[in-house]
């Protein structure tokens, strides 16, 4: 049984941290965006919806390339971080988190948007007539009724980030111990012809992710009205 070296374990830990942090952050930013998309009558709706879906369309390496330029010293994000006296984002874990959030954005926003749309107007109108303001309606009606959407969003977002490769490679630089995630570690082994280590690492990743996703799916109620 081939031994995994310390760098492999680091890559593994890094992947889990990246997927965990990105998913949690997306579950914070995603719902307001999904809610806006589901309920607004603004003429920007379709445009924003298409933008959200863009990471689905672009090849990951291309997306990574754009993100790298924007976060780099000449890009608008890079200039912003410099102005705020923050460390540069490319080739750092924080840069990876930002890239992962954008990469997995549609996987989190779309299930949420669908779930919010499925609620329909009527429960919300009823809640308004019962003295519930917009924020109140969101938390007391929309979120509980859209709960399966939240679970799907978490599962998809997490899984998608675990498997992330092209974007993370471009933006992270594959630096061992800092931005080399499990997918890159596996790829490196394969490229080097070290198949047995690649197998072990892959198996580890799959088993752990499977466990995580299974755990999350327990949060999804079987059908409306009983959990």
């Amino acid at each position: 049984m081939p031994r995994l070296d310390s760098q492999d374990w680091q890559a593994f830990a890094l992947t889990l941290q990246l997927a965990g942090v990105s998913t949690v952050l997306l579950l914070g930013f995603g719902p307001p965006l999904a809610w806006w998309l589901a309920t607004t009558a603004s003429r920007w709706r379709k445009l924003v919806g298409a933008l959200v879906a863009m990471p689905l369309v672009l090849p990951p390496t291309v997306l990574g390339f754009y993100l790298l330029s924007w976060m780099g010293p000449q890009g608008f994000i890079g200039k912003l971080t410099a102005a705020l006296d923050m460390a540069a984002l490319p080739f750092s874990f924080r840069g990876l988190v930002l890239a992962s959030m954008l990469y997995s954005l549609p996987f989190v926003v779309q299930p949420l948007q669908n779930a919010f749309e499925a609620i329909g107007k009527r429960p919300l109108e009823a809640a308004a007539s019962l003295r519930a303001g917009p924020l109140d309606r969101f938390f007391s009606i929309a979120v509980p009724l859209a709960w399966p959407g939240f679970v799907s969003a978490a599962i998809l977002g997490f899984a998608h980030t675990v498997g992330e490769f092209g974007v993370a490679l471009m933006v992270g630089g594959n630096i061992p111990g800092q931005t080399r995630v499990a997918s890159m570690a596996i790829y490196d082994r394969v490229e080097a012809g070290q198949m047995s280590q690649a197998h072990v690492l892959s198996l580890l990743l799959v088993v752990f992710s499977f466990a995580a996703l299974l755990a999350m799916s327990y949060l999804r109620p079987r059908n409306r009205g009983d959990a």
């Binding site: 941290q17 780099g72 959990a227």
Partner: protein
């Protein structure tokens, strides 16, 4: 117990598990970092993927002489690595599969010195299913050789040379239908190794590492294509590091040249200061 309370219990449980997992991961990370002695110097090298077998040996050789230095190598596509360096990637030295990328980096002010050729790449015809020991490149037009794998001529230096060789031999048109393109020469080699392509035109350096790459091969005469001068360049970060200069010098030294030759590379003229 009401359904909502069951759900809340589950959420709390899952959240606690997640926190524990994250904590474990951080601990794992920190434990790894503690393993490395604090005063160890670190060198981060970026290299074209096809240089791996040779560079691994060069690195190991260097580490034996300088055990106090940790050398990490990131392998990738030359173009991608070059873009990343332009965006400030923290590599100290960059080994490209050609000379264009290092030259461009130098011209745009991202290099710490002039590009230096470290090896001359050579092409070989390679197969694990056919015996190609005495096959000429013109023979590839024969239909018995099914799919031919080469690196993508659009952006991979070895791919460009493969196309040039095929054109020079006058068989480019005939083999068009049977070509499969790998993203880089390593991919092309994998097509051959996995049996998805019968034949590949790949880097000679691959064929010489007998343990991983079986099969038979035949060298392609260098006259059929532009020379593949593989260059390296110190980055701006690397130029300030004495250890990077040392590594650069090592790669051009006698021991290194012997290693390179063994891996099937041609050798540049004698050492130059990067």
């Amino acid at each position: 117990m009401s359904a909502m309370r069951v759900m809340r219990r589950k959420i709390w449980l899952l959240a606690s598990l997640a926190l524990v997992a994250l904590a474990l991961c951080s601990w794992l990370q920190q434990a790894q970092q503690l393993h490395q002695p604090q005063n160890q110097e670190r060198l981060l090298v970026a290299s074209a993927a096809d240089f791996r077998p040779a560079l691994d040996e060069l690195r190991d050789d260097f580490q034996r002489r300088r055990p106090d230095v940790a050398v990490d190598v990131v392998y990738g596509a030359s173009g991608k690595l070059s873009s990343q360096i332009e965006q400030g990637a923290p590599f100290d030295i960059f080994f490209s599969a050609d000379s264009d990328y290092p030259q461009r980096l130098f011209d745009h002010g991202h290099a710490g010195g002039q590009p230096v050729t470290y090896a001359i790449g050579r092409l070989a015809i390679w197969s694990t299913s056919h015996d190609v020991g005495h096959v000429d490149i013109a023979d590839l037009a024969k239909p018995e050789f099914g799919r031919i794998a080469i690196a993508n001529p659009q952006h991979a230096p070895y791919g460009k040379r493969a196309e040039q060789a095929l054109r020079a031999a006058g068989v480019w048109e005939q083999v068009q239908q049977r070509l499969v393109f790998g993203d880089n020469v390593t991919h092309a080699a994998q097509f051959v190794r996995s049996g998805n392509a019968d034949i590949g035109i790949i880097a000679t350096s691959f064929t010489s590492d007998g343990s991983t790459w079986k099969g038979s091969h035949a060298e392609v005469p260098p006259s059929l294509h532009e020379p593949l001068r593989q260059s390296f360049v110190l980055t701006r970060t690397g130029a300030d590091k004495a250890i990077a200069r040392e590594f650069a010098a090592h790669v051009q030294g006698e021991a290194a040249r012997a290693i390179l030759q063994r891996h099937g590379f041609g050798l540049p003229e004698t050492a130059k200061e990067p």
